[in-house]
Symmetry: D5
Subunit: 149 residues, 10 copies
């Protein structure tokens, strides 16, 4: 009568296996057949996987059925308090503090009253070579939703 494995326990096992086996997130995403950022987020516990996705990931990572079951569970999404001040993540938070009000102005000017959906939404990640130092380029791409009664 054991409860199923938690999403964060599954994520720890995924990260440990990935390191041990020397697999990249891209290789896992390719095996899973889903976009890179989506797959990484799902394996870290932010999206439920289909049975097939979970089994493909676990086979590649040599993890057992209890992990595959966990990966299919509907997660409680949200920020990880242990990462709130991590510098790699904090720089995004800081950018949002500095540019968020400008983005709000521009969204309303261009689209009217509404939001960029965070559900009908995708995130891109890429490395862009630059002679002064390569760049991290992250794209937030969401459907505009207008306030509509």
């Amino acid at each position: 009568m054991n409860p199923i494995m938690s999403r964060s326990e599954a994520a720890d096992l995924v990260v440990a296996a990935r390191t041990r086996l020397g697999l990249s997130w891209s290789e896992i995403a390719e095996e899973v057949g889903a976009p890179l950022v989506w797959t990484t987020a799902a394996l870290l516990g932010q999206h439920p996987m289909t049975a097939e996705q979970a089994e493909r990931a676990c086979r590649l990572l040599t993890l057992d059925e209890s992990v595959a079951e966990s990966l299919q569970r509907q997660p409680a999404r949200g920020p990880d308090p242990a990462l709130a001040a991590d510098p790699t993540i904090y720089r995004f938070t800081e950018a949002l503090a500095v540019y968020g009000p400008a983005l709000k102005e521009l969204i309303h000017e261009e689209f009217g009253d509404g939001i960029m959906s965070a559900i009908n939404f995708r995130v891109g990640f890429s490395r862009v070579p630059d002679p002064e130092g390569d760049r991290v380029v992250v794209t937030f791409d969401g459907k505009f939703l207008d306030y509509r009664w």
Copy 2:
């Protein structure tokens, strides 16, 4: 012996003038000669402008010298508490909660130990037509900085 006008008072005057005159942020950015998101953020109080930028903006917006002086002041950057729960901005915060840990994993895998700079950094904003509803596309583009002693 009056203190100079605060950055947020200047921002309120800019927003009011823009609405009254029916000017778009793009028209202002073009006049200022700087990128769209940067100009919007600067006028909202997140970047100091050069004397020339401030004067060009104020001339277009028919604002006086005290505003132009204020726009050149070094700001105290940071989040606006009154906007923390605004849905248009909150969706970015939520996206960061869901995808931030994945971005951290991908940055470290691709670049090693370090961060995407939020200083040597630019933000793009565009509207992408889509038959299922046009999309808001925002690009964060920062130089990778590695931990280096």
Copy 3:
């Protein structure tokens, strides 16, 4: 060079005029030509009105042009801290604490992974007679949005 009137100053003037003139929110909504809860929320500062809506409301409430201009401004939406513990509002918060996790389970079971939109969304309010005491009935009605890349 005055900044335009803030949304909360406009809301205070609306509430004062409504009381002074003995107008109901329904009468105002009818004049504005919009749903009851939407109109009330808009006049309290949570939605921008069109020029026509704002002018109709201000004519009825005998408020001047500066209020009408303010009502058309894009607001910064969010909770009012002064109302967080108000018992009339707190009971909704409490109901959400008690029934929120159940609603999440039921949404995912019925619709799959996604959310009830709070943007493509409407709220109904009615009084339902009941011999043991009339009832407040509030309906939240939002489009289901699935997580979709």
Copy 4:
């Protein structure tokens, strides 16, 4: 001399069993003989069940007596911090921020000084088909209580 199983441990076992057995919340509610949202909330730990309700639920879910005992315990109700930022639940919180003050105005106008009870209270959940996308409809229905000395 073991203490009885906690309500949240029981909830985890219920959720795990439900998934394993492929039972819907409606099927469980029918077996328990109680409304859908009430039953779901009770099994997640927000209401005590009668002995009969608990035993029926546990028989269906093939859970043992210690779970049935736990489900009868008086719970400490309240929000689950792990769900505060979950998007599915947060949209309700956001709707309350945007429309809560309007609901307060309308309750006082219609009923006088008082509240919608969250105790003499029921919640409805339904899926409403819509050609532009089906809708989540949640009804909060509570007895009006007036401030009365």
Copy 5:
């Protein structure tokens, strides 16, 4: 086009007038024709008064019509942050920390699952002589409400 006087401004004027005129809260309550604690709370901004109550209070306190109007407004109830650590009030908070869980146990044992209403509710205040030092006796008296669907 002035907004009406806030409830807390009215409360300040009441307290100042009461002190200046040397009136006791009991004398004011008698004039208003309402219970002592209710009247004190109402004049401090926690209950709306009827027109007659407000006018009687203002006549006695020699306050003008703008105060009387304010006292009839529906308040936003809630704690006053400036009093959170005031020792006179904090002792009640402390008593609740120490005895609250016991009261919850006793309410559930005696009445079943439910609450003491804070709306259908009255508060008594009295001084009880005692040779070892007179005692403050405060009575909370609320209707029991059971969780009822």
Copy 6:
């Protein structure tokens, strides 16, 4: 070299035994020879018991010596965060928000500058029959202490 059992572990065992044996808090208080609310609070971990009180309680509840020892320990008193939003307890918190400032005014008017002691203090609990629904009546009764140098 085991540390003694914590007060909250002892409280859990007391609650479990009370339920299993079908004993009321009154029966336990009678056996302990102490007031009802005091005994309930003490067994929940908010007062140290004498050796005799602890042994009587444990004999009745068929709990062993390690519980009796724990019940004699000096506790760290304070609020239980897991109960802060529990509706049964929250209604007391809300009543304090609404009536606390009035009680402060009345204490100072009647007694002068000082407080109701929460140490030389007792709490009464009773059920008062009422044709419109029985009432929970809780009495806070503390010695007045004046600020005295």
Copy 7:
């Protein structure tokens, strides 16, 4: 119909006058006829003064009647958030963090279950010469109060 001057406005005027006139807190306390720390705390807004004390203080400080009236008002006591991190005050907070649990153990061992009163309480302040640097000596002296029903 002005409200009376706030306690903190009165405190600011006292501090300004004291500096302007070059008076020490001891000289003021002597004139008021009350202990040094009590008088300083009272003038800073933490104790109400008698009419005579307030008038003596105001005559010495050449402050007018509105200040004297304010000093007699019952204050809302509590910490000043602007001083929470002030190093001179923070060192006391830190000492309490380090030695508070030890003081609790010693109070209970010596006196039994109870507290040091902060109401029947006095504070001493003195400078003690020391060849290695003079010392600040502050004495907290409160009546022991035992938990007594």
Copy 8:
């Protein structure tokens, strides 16, 4: 490869042994050869002990070498959140809220700009007999440190 015992685990074992053996904090302090409050604080985890002090304490309390090693570790000092609202400790916090600003004024008047050290610092504890009830007297005695570049 076990990590050494934590300071708080050692403190729990000390408190349990002290109670079991019926030893007073004074007897332990005498054996350790250090002041009463210092010794109590050290054994509760706020100061590192020398090897000799730790061994003497452990021999008296019949605790083994792992406790003695732990007592020598450099602690992370700070407040115990579980004690923040404990009434015995809270009264000191309250006294600091009421008298802290006065102490700051008096320190600066007497000594100039600087602080009472909390490092070159000692705390005294004593019981002072008083016909109206014995008193807890606690002395904070720290070297004055002036701001000095």
Copy 9:
């Protein structure tokens, strides 16, 4: 009977005058005859100045006597909430999060149990040329204080 000008109002006037007159902080420090970082901090409201220092600063900045008086007042020191997330200051906070525990270890290893004084303390600031980009070098230099009873 005006209260003297607040320290933060004085700071605003200093900053405005400095900008208007094109004076550097070094030039002001030289005129004041005090170290650069100390002088900047003092003028921003974190240290009291002597009468001579304040007058020299105000003469150079063409500010009047009320500013000079304010600069001599004992400040309430502490962090400015408006700067908590400012990137220029936040980088120091982040560095402390990453390296603070290491500095604690090294201080205790090198000096024993104690602290770096923040009172007998000075801060250096300099620009160090570097071919890969000039560097900001900030030195914290405080007397070691050992825990000493």
Copy 10:
């Protein structure tokens, strides 16, 4: 299928081994071949080590492979809540509160709009003899980064 050892478990084992073996942080840093503060921070869990660094450290400290693996993991950096009020670390926080705004002014005056990098950054630690008491000298040395689009 064990997850790898957490960074904080590894840190505890490092600290325990260092104490047991009597090794200084300098000796460990020398063996690792990296700067003192960097090595200490890395072993406490704030930097990933290379395989060679981790193995050298573990060999010296006689710790096994699981620790060496953990030390190579990418950490989640951030403050340790248990150390927030530790006096040794708090003095740095306090210094930042007092001198942070001055450092911001000086950085902008000297370098323009930008920050001291906390990534391209090093920290120095040294003991400086002084007849009035030796001094702790900590140097923060980071590359200046200007806001650059």
